[in-house]
Symmetry: C2
Subunit: 241 residues, 2 copies
């Protein structure tokens, strides 16, 4: 099984024949994980704030979440804050969630037979499920980073490395052939024992701190505290327009 | 000054307003450096073997160099072997050089006001010239990796990190703002004290060893043994078709 990391979604290439894990650790995939853990019945991922608004207008029972410049747009019930989601009760609720960055990666990954939603919080569980799915269906492995504004994001690359480490150290590690990108991601992971300190130095992390949501940084940087692995098509889906 | 690293040429974006250094360390930019050092009057870089052949047919005085599957195609005077170039005498000669991978990065960089040809052998000199050019003309800094078959190449990323390290440790280091990608490249550089050992583990390095050109790997992995910094437009130019 080849294990590749796409540092930007566009590098992923053809995702058929690959089990994929998508990362937008600060903050979209951490938010999605938290919403699923808090009991959401369904999360519909919209590519823009306006698309999310239109969808909610037609589905009045749904909650509206998302961000513009890091904050909840006017009229939204929630922003894109995993710390706030962790305090919310979503049991039995449906949410439409607007995230430009994470959506792009999920759209590119959608041809993969399995698309997992990964973050640092569930990295070992995501690695395990990814390998199980790939082994069962003879797929290659692909970890897709969202990046920031079409550029490499160190926070996502680090998290990809955390997943690579878990895969290579796991029971199927010997059957996996990492690409140059997968090896590089692992080096980034191994070089930084303190993810929160690293995240503070990244473009995405600095932005979150600047808008006063430092609390989110801590949530995004917590490692291996969840065994939930959301997947596209199971309570989480992309809005078709 | 912003300092960015594009791990693939397509990530470079708009190169106007940036001083650029292009890397294809195994082997095209190491070869180009060596040809310039050996006294070439002019190197014309062709995007394909066929384009190089046609150009030479019209310029019988030129030497023909390049690779297909790592080796010199039939009728070529040279392959793409920096070790072989280092033994050749190019004084006063003109060469047409076919390199698919390196050409793509150079074409993408060509809108930059300065395009340097960088490798591990000249990394500190390339860093110095890049900063000098950027400072004089108030440009940002961009290091562009060629990658392999449209994927991240660890050898190029490592070399980019070696240049980032030299820039940030240099006299202008305090005026430089590294992006996430630049910081990540530096981590890759710092994590590997032995570039030859690292290069052997990369896709490009394994290929060179497999075709029996291990000697080239040693040439490509030698650090800071040249102060020559070739640049596009000065004895090195892209073939226009």
């Amino acid at each position: 099984m080849e294990l590749h990391v796409a540092f930007l979604p566009e590098e992923a290439g053809d995702c058929r024949g690959r089990a994929a894990a998508v990362i937008d650790v600060i903050r979209a995939t951490t938010s999605l994980l938290t919403m699923v853990e808090r009991g959401c019945d369904e999360i519909v991922i919209a590519p823009t704030v306006d698309a999310a608004r239109r969808y909610r207008a037609a589905h009045a029972d749904m909650l509206l979440a998302g961000e513009r410049g890091g904050r909840a747009p006017e009229g939204f019930d929630y922003g894109n804050s995993p710390a706030a989601f962790a305090r919310a009760d979503f049991a039995g609720r449906r949410v439409v969630f607007a995230t430009t960055n994470g959506t792009r990666a999920l759209h590119i990954a959608r041809d993969a037979p399995v698309v997992l939603i990964a973050s640092l919080r569930n990295r070992t569980a995501a690695a395990r499920v990814l390998v199980e799915e790939a082994t069962r269906d003879a797929l290659d492995l692909m970890v897709i980073c969202s990046g920031r504004e079409r550029r490499f994001g160190l926070d996502d690359a680090y998290t990809a490395g955390a997943i690579v480490e878990a895969i290579l150290a796991g029971p199927a590690g010997r059957d996996v052939a990492p690409t140059d990108a997968a090896l590089a991601a692992r080096v980034l992971f191994r070089a930084h024992p303190d993810p929160e300190a690293l995240f503070r130095t990244t473009w995405a992390g600095r932005n979150v701190v600047e808008i006063g949501l430092e609390e989110d940084l801590r949530v995004c940087a917590a490692q291996d505290c969840s065994v939930t692995v959301p997947r596209l098509g199971d309570r989480v889906r992309l809005l078709e327009e």
